[in-house]
């Protein structure tokens, strides 16, 4: 019985428990660029957009830590940060990302080789 329970535990763990205990994305929408607790300044990258490629779903950005070409996927959340103009933040698309926009990006699993988990784009209107 003990061995069977260990097997069930392993299966449960694999099926039900091995996903990352990731953060709740939904309220991230309202957190301004650079203020994500525990992430900004440590695991995210801040910079400005240099180039947007709608076809490849990539954008090129540069910041203090260098230049990056980052990949977006269907699951990447795009947040339009309008807090500086005291307007409600909203969800956006890659079309909303313009050259010169200030952005903050978080990579999946905090690995810069992976696509973006989310991107925040500062908007003045």
């Amino acid at each position: 019985m003990s061995k069977l329970l260990t097997i069930i535990g392993t299966i449960c763990f694999l099926v039900l428990g091995t996903f990352s205990a990731h953060a709740e994305k939904s309220t991230e929408l309202y957190i301004p660029i650079g203020q994500s607790p525990g992430l900004s300044g440590e695991y995210t990258v801040l910079g400005k957009i240099d180039q947007v490629n709608l076809q490849n779903q990539t954008l090129k950005m540069s910041g203090a830590s260098g230049s990056y070409t980052v990949k977006l996927t269907e699951s990447t959340s795009i947040y339009l940060d309008r807090s500086k103009v005291m307007r409600t933040n909203t969800y956006g698309t890659l079309v909303d990302c313009k050259v010169g926009d200030t952005v903050e990006v978080k990579f999946k699993d905090d690995s810069r080789n992976k696509p973006l988990e989310w991107i925040k784009v500062e908007k003045a209107q």
Binding site: L5, H22, T27, P37, L39
Partner: protein
């Protein structure tokens, strides 16, 4: 001279016999924890008037339920959706809050507030030291994904302020609320980690009550209750013998969402399905500790079961046995969980006893500084006595509710009487607190063998 010397000697002897016990070594985080306490109960973050304590009050085990909610005045910030025109729609459901203790959460996004939301009970914040860690990172909230940012308990308050403290549905920082600073988040985390028990139980306990003793056997049985597998030592972590070492806190789909006739579904209110962890959800929910359960119902993420006996009985039913977790359990053990009526009551009795033991521990912990005059301020003393009284009331209700240990109940009632005397007294607080501790210990002796 000689009588005077005898008198002085006698006085020295009396004072010597009643030298106060020296205070324990001060907690190095004490200042940070106290700062966190002040923020937790007083800071509104320039929002709608709510504080963390609005939904996590100290006097109700840091959670809310319909009985507690009914005791609040109508202008309490908890009810802000009822009197703030900007929050009248799509912020809370006042009827479901008052009737079932349910709070709105927009876990799947804020793009369709009218239809995209969940209704969840308020989880308590006790024992977090031992209940949220996992190899995949901390699991906060009912689906284990309650925090924004890095997902830590420290970041949790940021998400809570955005979801629950806003003045309008615009949720604009520095307009509708202000975000907590890093220092405030540190303090809040320290305070929350300080609440409740700081270590796990080690089962089996040498229980004295016949019914609870059998309940513990069922709880720990791999062929009958099987509860220990997900609630190791009656806590929130997976049993290492089943899930491997350091399994930590886990999520499971136990089929709660499939329960028929859930109370909130019997109303005409919109109650969208709750898909649990992630966006879109995978149907799993976080495992809570059961040590704190008997006095912190209703139960499960949606408050769908009112009593501890009902919560135990849930695992006999189709909803659990047909769930992914239930199916795996059947495949591995050859059967589902199939406790009969008496056995359900026995397991529930065990849960009532371990909850009472924890309440007694907390009561004594709160009374000792008053008994020994360790507390620094009058306000601290009042807070400690209020906590002791609340925990003792819980102990009485939990035991009486299960028809358990009437002698222990008598001791606890006496402890409560003495605690209330300490609250009212000007000069004898210490004495009454000491006597209350004695009664708590007598009650505890009734429940478990003391080694």
């Amino acid at each position: 001279m000689k009588p005077l010397l005898v008198l002085i000697g006698g006085l020295v002897l009396i004072i010597g016999c009643h030298m106060p016990t020296p205070p324990p070594t001060p907690d190095p985080d004490g200042e940070l924890i106290e700062k966190g306490r002040q923020i937790f109960f007083n800071e509104t973050f320039e929002g709608n008037g709510r504080t963390c304590g609005s939904c996590h009050p100290a006097g109700n085990n840091f959670t809310i339920d319909p009985t507690f909610i009914a005791s609040l005045p109508d202008d309490d910030p908890l009810f802000v959706a009822e009197f703030n025109p900007a929050l009248k729609k799509n912020f809370e459901n006042p009827r479901l809050m008052r009737e079932f203790g349910l709070i709105v959460e927009n876990l799947d996004g804020f793009d369709d507030l009218a239809n995209k939301f969940t209704l969840r009970g308020v989880p308590h914040t006790l024992g977090l030291q031992d209940t949220i860690d996992s190899p995949q990172g901390p699991r906060t909230g009912w689906s284990g994904d309650g925090s924004p940012g890095d997902g830590s308990l420290q970041s949790f308050a940021t998400g809570a302020v955005i979801q629950h403290f806003t003045k309008t549905l615009g949720r604009v920082p520095d307009v509708d609320f202000r975000l907590p600073t890093d220092e405030e988040l540190d303090a809040l985390e320290a305070f929350q980690f300080s609440l409740g028990r700081q270590e796990e139980l080690t089962l089996p306990l040498p229980l004295k009550g016949t019914v609870a003793k059998r309940g513990q056997e069922l709880f720990l049985s791999p062929t009958e209750g099987k509860c220990f597998a997900c609630h190791s030592n009656a806590g929130a972590n997976g049993d290492p013998a089943v899930f491997g070492p350091n399994a930590g806190n886990l999520n499971f789909n136990t089929g709660v969402e499939d329960l028929p006739d859930q109370p909130q579904d019997l109303t005409a209110e919109l109650v969208p399905p709750d898909d649990g962890f992630g966006i879109p959800g995978d149907g799993t929910f976080n495992t809570p500790s059961v040590i704190e359960s008997a006095d912190s119902g209703p139960f499960f993420h949606n408050n769908s079961v009112e009593t501890i006996e009902g919560a135990v009985a849930f695992y006999n039913g189709d909803a659990f046995n047909n769930s992914p977790a239930g199916q795996l359990l059947q495949q591995a053990t050859g059967s589902g969980i199939n406790l009969d009526g008496t056995q359900v009551v026995e397991v529930a009795a065990f849960l009532r006893i371990i909850n009472t033991l924890e309440n007694i521990r907390q009561s004594i912990e709160a009374l000792e500084p008053v008994a020994n005059k360790w507390h620094q301020t009058v306000e601290q003393g009042k807070r400690l006595l209020d906590q002791a009284a609340a925990e003792t009331e819980d102990s009485i209700a939990v035991l009486s509710g299960g028809g358990l240990h009437p002698e222990a109940v008598m001791h606890l009632q006496e402890a409560l009487r003495l605690t209330k005397k300490a609250q009212r007294s000007l000069f004898s607080k210490s004495r009454y607190a000491r006597e209350a501790i004695e009664q708590q210990e007598k009650a505890r002796d009734n429940l478990v063998e003391i080694s």
